[in-house]
């Protein structure tokens, strides 16, 4: 049985001492969980180790912690898996001659620590959940029996419903680290749970609210940390992107954060150039170089432009001219994608796993199956969100007809 050095971050606000590390050696199989090891220490050695935990099967969401630098649930992280992670305070270089691989367990980030591994989720996580009107605002009239809703919609929102509110995504959200007011991954995923639910009456209002909030959907920086952190496959960032797509494409909400115009500028930029022409992106996001709104942004960006010129990352020629022209293949992709009746949505939560050979059809859905018209009388897209834009962008139809799935969810 392998031995592990379990380092636990300790903090007791009553002691007057600074946080410190406690160290214990535990002999346990590598397939036991980090929580098993912590509880062994608590049961047999030191009953004062503070950690929330209950179900031990990754459903109650209590035991969110950081293990060797990565956030997750202590109960479904194997000791062997945690020990292999090679960074942070649990770094395990063999040359240091450690007796046993180190597993360092710390409280989650972005939230104040109450004691040891226990953080104040009310102060951050739940406050943000409350921010997004986290309950169904019923479509009227409420039917006598159930609402009639397509199967796909219910499976789709079940992905965000599967969130256990553990806080792992909040812990390592980089945007929240910079902007503590950012609504954040968990709460925005919760928002999608209602925006994707055809029984909710306030899709537009919710989207408008979160698009106009400068700490809302356009505050996310696409760092993928929340997707890595989530132990339940909720993929918060994907849900944020779906909120943006609904806000921008379905409801055409032109927000004051310029998120809508920026995304359109981006798409048009690629359509024109084939590759991203950075120098146009900023002014186009504000309506073009000569738009009065763009002028202060351009002036503000001058120092960055000067640095880029000095370092040779940009030349006056590349800045002002358009050396690339979109090749015909790019044009064909645009034509193909825009020629569809509905949006192609990929959602491996709904469709299964990459190695699933027998999957046919239904893996990707053209969204024309949809139901409920939105406020503008257009069909709301149904079913799943985009997950794997790389596969989608090449030839989504071909992928769909072959296997129904693409990149795998392997967690």
């Amino acid at each position: 049985m392998p031995a592990y050095t379990l380092r636990i971050r300790r903090f007791d606000p009553q002691s007057g001492e600074a946080p410190h590390w406690d160290e214990h050696t535990v002999d346990m199989p590598e397939t036991q969980s980090v929580l098993d090891a912590i509880l062994k220490v608590r049961d047999e050695v030191d009953g004062s180790v503070g950690i929330r935990c209950s179900c031990q099967q990754a459903i109650c969401g209590s035991c969110g912690v950081r293990m060797n630098g990565k956030p997750g649930l202590a109960c479904n992280t194997h000791l062997g898996e945690a020990a292999e992670r090679g960074h942070g305070v649990g770094w395990n270089p063999p040359e240091e001659g450690q007796v046993a691989p180190v597993i360092a367990v710390e409280p989650m980030g972005n939230m104040p620590v109450i004691r040891d591994l226990i953080v104040d989720m009310d102060a951050v996580h739940w406050k943000k959940i409350r921010r997004v009107t986290p309950w169904l605002v019923n479509q009227q009239p409420v039917p006598e029996r159930e609402y009639i809703v397509p199967h796909e919609n219910m499976v789709d929102v079940t992905q965000t419903m599967a969130c256990i509110q553990c806080g792992a995504c909040v812990s390592d959200c980089l945007a929240m680290e910079v902007d503590p007011l950012f609504v954040g991954p968990a709460a925005l995923a919760k928002a999608y749970r209602f925006v994707g639910d055809p029984r909710d009456a306030q899709h537009r209002e919710r989207l408008q609210d979160l698009a106009e909030d400068e700490h809302g959907i356009y505050d996310c920086t696409h760092c993928f940390n929340c997707i890595d952190a989530c132990p339940k496959g909720v993929d918060p960032m994907s849900q944020i992107m779906r909120l943006r797509r609904r806000a921008g494409s379905d409801y055409e909400i032109e927000d004051r954060n310029n998120g809508y115009r920026h995304e359109h500028a981006f798409v048009n930029n690629i359509r024109r150039n084939g590759l991203l022409h950075e120098a146009d992106l900023l002014p186009d996001s504000y309506g073009g170089k000569f738009n009065p709104r763009a002028v202060p942004e351009l002036i503000g960006a001058l120092p960055t432009a000067m640095t880029a010129l000095r370092r040779g990352k940009m030349t006056p020629k590349t800045a002002l001219g358009h050396p690339h022209k979109a090749p015909a293949e790019v044009k064909r992709i645009f034509e193909k994608v825009e020629g569809r009746s509905g949006r192609v949505e990929l959602n491996l939560y709904v469709t299964g796993y990459e190695d699933e050979p027998e999957a046919t059809g239904g893996g990707q859905r053209e969204t024309a199956t949809a139901a409920e018209p939105n406020a503008q009388g257009r069909p709301e897209s149904v079913g799943a969100g985009e997950r794997q834009p790389a596969a989608e962008s090449l030839d989504a139809d071909a992928v769909a007809s072959e296997t129904g799935t693409t990149e795998g969810e392997t967690r």
Binding site: G47, G50, S54, G61, S62, N76, T158
Partner: protein, 562 residues
């Protein structure tokens, strides 16, 4: 000192449903939970919730299945109430936002479940409890002006006035350790069962029988405590639950020889016989040497189409992978019966009233009794919601006619001294975890699927010894911020009380019925034992046994086969 019309202790499905119902009825409501509400163990309920909502189905059919499942120990008036009100409750949940599975026409879809004569289990993949619990919490956030939620507060005492009426509770704020008196015109216990008295168990670490023991200690009657459900499909090592939904979707049970043994035990319902029957069949196979060397049989989920498994049984795919290293879509997984649920609890009527005035109970903590000797799968969520709501409504109505009680300040001082005494123990005793471990193994050995007089007597003896030892158990933590050590010491006492009541009732019932199988009395004996066993304690901590009749309305006891 918060004053409430209705104070609810426990914020799982029963507690939250009670809070919403009481608030709806116009009462001021406080809800207290030792964990954040969404951590409550209702979150782990997987398979679904039963209701005769399809036009072809009838509540009478649901009720009969439940009566038969209970081995005729369930009170039929209560079962009728539950099954009649079930369809309305499903629709209430649907309108509140639960993302129930839909069929091809967009209507609510069902799956098959054990012991049921129709597919009447409504579900959200295999996270039904989780989905409902989180939706109820959404509603609690929506109604936060009407319901005060005290999250991470631990109840140490139930308060009574001189007439024995329950008038509130004393609770400890886990964040800073301070004690507070909560006065209330009515108190609803919704603290769940006591699975942690067993090891292994499918229940979470928080499921320590708090409410059962607290009510018992102030004189409430406990009923049907001998009826402890072993779930047929739990993982060998850690006792984690594999949902009955797997068998509902078509999975088979196989012994080590590849024999589908349920054909011999329940030729009609096979894997979907009621849980006591399936667990006994498995244990018999294992005991007779037809199991695997690790003391298990196999659950073969590869019989279910893989796509369907990935969509509808996603959680157990993860559990198989993370906790057993098995891809359940490709190979059978080893399982065995494991402690899962207690049918017994604090005796209540159909409005949740216990034998203590002003004290209600709902959910697993309570015994109405709708489950009798054996609970059907997917009836527990229904029980929590129906009787949670009814308790909330009834207590709110009661509160209107009652004046706000006051608690003498000395009670807080007593509670403070009690806690301080635990924190200041001088050590020297065994560790809390060691005592708890011995208790769990004892119960799992002697008060499990098969029982006999000798084993139960041994268990009782061990429990008495542990009860004497527990007050000296070592506590390391001297602090007041999130002192989980002191809570663990208190919970140990609760589990010991529950365990003793279980063993006493199991010793008393000299027959085999439902989950109670006595190898020394292997037959059901309706002439003598068609009655509930009630357990109470008097002041001297000596349990007393009494009986109460089983209510029979429509369905006379018959032989029970599946």
């Amino acid at each position: 000192m918060p004053n409430q019309d209705v104070l609810i202790i426990g914020a799982g499905l029963a507690g939250q449903r009670a809070a919403l119902a009481a608030a709806q009825a116009g009462a001021t409501v406080g809800i207290i939970s030792k964990v954040h509400p969404v951590r409550s163990h209702s979150v782990a309920a997987a398979g679904g919730i039963n209701a005769a909502l399809n036009p072809e189905d009838t509540w009478e059919s649901h009720a009969f299945d439940t009566v038969k499942g209970s081995d005729y120990l369930g009170d039929q008036d209560a079962i009728e109430v539950m099954c009649r009100e079930a369809p309305g409750e499903i629709l209430w949940l649907e309108h509140a936002g639960v993302t129930f599975h839909r069929n091809e026409t967009g209507h609510l879809g069902t799956r098959a479940f054990g012991g049921a004569s129709a597919a009447r289990t409504y579900y959200v993949a295999d996270i039904t409890g989780h989905a409902i619990l989180h939706v109820l919490y959404e509603q609690l956030m929506k109604h936060s002006t009407q319901v005060d939620s005290y999250e991470e507060w631990f109840t140490t005492d139930l308060l009574q006035d001189d007439d024995g009426r329950c008038i509130g509770a004393i609770c400890r704020n886990l964040r800073d350790g301070h004690l507070e008196v909560f006065n209330a015109k009515a108190v609803i216990l919704a603290t769940g069962g006591c699975g942690q008295a067993y090891k292994p168990t499918t229940n979470g670490l928080i499921v320590t029988g708090d409410g059962i023991a607290q009510a018992y200690r102030i004189g409430a009657k406990l009923m049907d405590m001998e009826m402890v459900q072993y779930h047929p499909t739990t993982l060998a090592g850690n006792g984690l639950l594999i949902t009955e939904g797997a068998r509902g979707e078509g999975a088979w049970l196989l012994n080590a020889e590849g024999d589908r043994f349920m054909e011999r035990y329940a030729p009609n319902k096979l894997e979907l016989a009621s849980r006591d029957v399936v667990s006994r069949a498995e244990q018999t196979e294992i005991n007779e040497g037809h199991g695997f060397p690790d003391g298990t049989v196999a659950l073969d989920i590869t019989k279910v189409p893989r796509r369907r498994t990935l969509e509808a049984l996603r959680e157990i795919v993860n559990i198989g992978r993370d906790f057993a290293g098995v891809d359940i879509t490709r190979e059978p997984i080893h399982i065995r019966p494991g402690q899962h649920y207690i049918m017994g609890g604090v005796k209540t009527d159909v409005d949740g009233q216990t034998t203590i005035p002003g004290l209600y109970a709902a959910g697993e903590v309570a015994c109405v009794s709708v489950h009798g000797g054996n609970r059907l799968g997917a009836n527990s969520l229904l029980d929590t919601l129906i009787f949670g709501r009814r308790s909330g409504e009834h207590s709110a109505a009661r509160a209107i006619q009652t004046s706000m009680p006051a608690t003498p300040a000395t009670r807080v001082a007593d509670a403070e001294r009690y806690i301080a005494a635990i924190i200041n123990r001088d050590g020297g005793g065994r560790r809390v975890a060691a005592i708890k471990h011995e208790l769990g193994e004892t119960m799992n050995q002697y008060a499990a699927v098969f029982r006999d007089a000798e084993g139960l007597a041994t268990a009782h003896e061990i429990i008495r010894r542990l009860k004497e030892e527990a007050p000296r158990a070592t506590v390391d933590d001297r602090g007041s911020v999130f002192n989980q050590d002191v809570i663990g010491a208190i919970e140990l006492g609760y589990m010991l009380d529950c365990a003793e009541a279980i063993v006493i009732a199991a010793e008393e019932r000299k027959e085999s019925r439902g989950a109670q199988f006595r190898t020394d009395f292997p037959k059901r004996n309706d002439d003598v034992w068609l009655k509930h066993i009630d357990v109470t304690v008097n002041g001297a901590d000596v349990p007393e046994v009494s009986y109460s009749p089983v209510t029979i309305t429509k369905w006379e006891p018959q032989e029970r086969t599946y």
